[in-house]
């Protein structure tokens, strides 16, 4: 078994032991979904679609971003408590600790997303996506999950204390609200609308929405993939630099 696999197993156990992480990552997006669909959604004008069909792609992204703070916290805890020194003295391969966190985060996100989509189906979500479209959805979700995981690991490494590490991911939680996740961007006020149109989560959500409705748009998809690759690259390089500096 490789060091990365051993670390992944460790991170996975940690997740199971930490009810807050599980709640934040899996249950909270579902709570949000129920709230938007049953309480607020009726008041939103999203055009000619059912609100649940409109909102699910955005909630899928939220399921990813809500799970991130646990990762930033876990990475920061590893770095600030003595355990990282123990791993170093044991000659654990350099990236193994980080790989473990990234893969554990992605797995947790996938569980959360599956739960969100499952509940969405229960309350009336009826996408018209083909099998190929679904494959696209999985691809986009995996890509953004991978990219944000590395970015979060980097933020966890950069944080001086575990408290600030937990806070560092707040922007990633807020971004979906300022995107087309809940309501279409063109219904927003000036300024916010431009922000929503040009921030990374909007093209990603629009790509998911297109795939799920069976009408993917190439423009959005290209922008989405470009953002994911960009975020992932920045996160990866940042994380590796911070890691070598800290240990």
């Amino acid at each position: 078994m490789t060091d990365s696999m051993i670390m992944l197993r460790r991170n996975f156990k940690q997740t199971l032991r930490n009810p807050t992480a599980v709640f934040n990552a899996v249950l909270f997006p579902i709570v949000l979904m129920l709230m938007f669909v049953y309480v607020l959604g009726g008041a939103f004008d999203v055009g000619n679609v059912k609100y649940i069909d409109y909102a699910t792609p955005g909630l899928v992204l939220m399921a990813i971003s809500y799970g991130l703070s646990a990762t930033a916290l876990a990475v920061s805890t590893d770095m600030t408590k003595g355990i990282i020194n123990r791993f170093r003295v044991m000659g654990i391969s350099r990236g193994a600790v980080l790989n473990g966190h990234v893969v554990a985060t992605m797995l947790r996100s996938l569980v959360a997303i599956a739960a969100v989509i499952g509940v969405a189906f229960l309350i009336g979500f009826r996408p018209s996506a083909s099998a190929l479209d679904w494959l696209g959805v999985v691809g986009v979700v995996a890509l953004i999950g991978f990219a944000t995981s590395w970015l979060t690991v980097a933020m966890g490494l950069a944080a001086k204390t575990t408290e600030s590490a937990g806070l560092a991911t707040v922007p990633l939680i807020l971004l979906p609200f300022l995107s087309s996740a809940i309501v279409p961007a063109d219904t927003m006020g000036p300024g916010v609308r431009q922000f929503a149109e040009y921030q990374p989560f909007t093209p990603i959500i629009e790509t998911l929405r297109g795939l799920l409705n069976g009408t993917p748009s190439a423009g959005n998809a290209i922008a989405a993939i470009a953002w994911c690759v960009g975020i992932g690259l920045v996160g990866y390089v940042w994380a590796r630099t911070k890691f070598s500096k800290r240990v």
Partner: protein
């Protein structure tokens, strides 16, 4: 022939213009306990970090088990175990899972790993709490688990950085017992401590570190001979009483200003009783008496000419 487990010569390290290690020379024989004694900020942890490959020195050489710590990092890491100042345990795992993690990372093998983990849990008296999350452990239990984790894979040279700082007296005794058992198995131990008593109890050799320099080195007995012994201090009401007492105790030292007399004594009940009886015999009354045993402060005062608490920040 190689009898040095750790050989350090001219080790230097500075952070910016703050010199932390200023030419440290050490030699630790295989199978012995070596204690680096010094106050906070003396450079103990920095020394451990350099010797355990966690930090690069600016100058000098250090060999652990014959391997250069700077160039043969991997070989050094294979033979050492380190228990740092802060328990390096995973709080979200149970005690058993922490040990199993170490066994996995050291590739001990599934069956053998289980056996090693169970053995260590029993040895450190942690079997009962093995299935509990470490976040519920007391400070003493964490330290024990930390040391147990270090022992997975049978390292031949173990570094312990202030292993008992912050522990209650009972946990400290337990730790001492465990350390003695390790040495009995032939393990070499490099121990840092702020407590003279701890170094005295455990170490074959002690080096006193002060402001990044070794100011004294030797066996505990050799060191203690260099520092003032324990003594009983009497305080008297007036000078005539002090005069009388000073005549009775020939080898005492008097301080007229505070009206006190220092009489060398091991501080045991027998010798203290003898002193008191002697005072009684000559009808001398002391206002107050106290027993003093040398501590780290005395060591520092006598070896460096300044008290440990007054170590200036350079």
């Amino acid at each position: 022939m190689r009898t040095s487990a750790i050989a350090v010569s001219g080790l230097r390290k500075a952070y910016g213009d703050k010199v932390v290690l200023d030419g440290v020379d050490l030699d630790v024989r295989t199978g012995t306990v070596f204690s680096l004694l010094g106050p906070n900020g003396a450079g103990k942890t920095t020394t451990v970090n350099v010797l355990t490959t966690l930090m690069k020195a600016d100058g000098g050489t250090a060999r652990v088990a014959g391997h250069d710590v700077a160039t043969e990092t991997r070989a050094v890491r294979e033979v050492i175990g380190v228990t740092g100042q802060f328990a390096a345990v995973d709080e979200l795992l149970t005690g058993q899972e922490n040990l199993q993690l170490m066994a996995d990372l050291k590739r001990v093998g599934a069956g053998e790993g289980k056996r090693v983990v169970a053995e260590l849990l029993a040895r450190f008296d942690l079997t009962e709490s093995a299935q509990k999350l470490v976040s519920t452990y007391s400070g003493g239990m964490r330290r024990k688990l930390d040391l147990a984790m270090t022992l997975v894979g049978n390292p031949r040279i173990i570094f312990l950085d202030e292993p008992t700082t912050g522990l209650d007296p009972r946990s400290r005794r337990t730790m001492w017992t465990i350390i003695r058992e390790l040495v009995a198995d032939g393990v070499t131990i490099f121990l840092t401590t702020q407590y003279l008593e701890e170094a005295d109890q455990l170490a074959d050799r002690i080096a006193v570190l002060d402001q990044g320099r070794v100011v004294a080195q030797g066996t505990p007995d050799e060191l203690k001979r260099q520092i003032p012994g324990s003594h009983v201090r009497f305080r008297f009401a007036d000078v005539p009483e002090l005069d009388a007492a000073a005549r009775v105790f020939a080898e005492s030292t008097r301080d007229d200003e505070t009206l006190t007399l220092r009489v060398p004594s091991d501080g045991g009940t027998k010798s203290v009783r003898a002193l008191l009886e002697k005072l009684d015999e000559y009808s001398i009354d002391a206002e107050e008496f106290s027993v003093h045993t040398p501590d780290l402060d005395d060591v520092f005062l006598s070896l460096t000419g300044h008290a440990s608490a007054e170590v200036p920040v350079t």
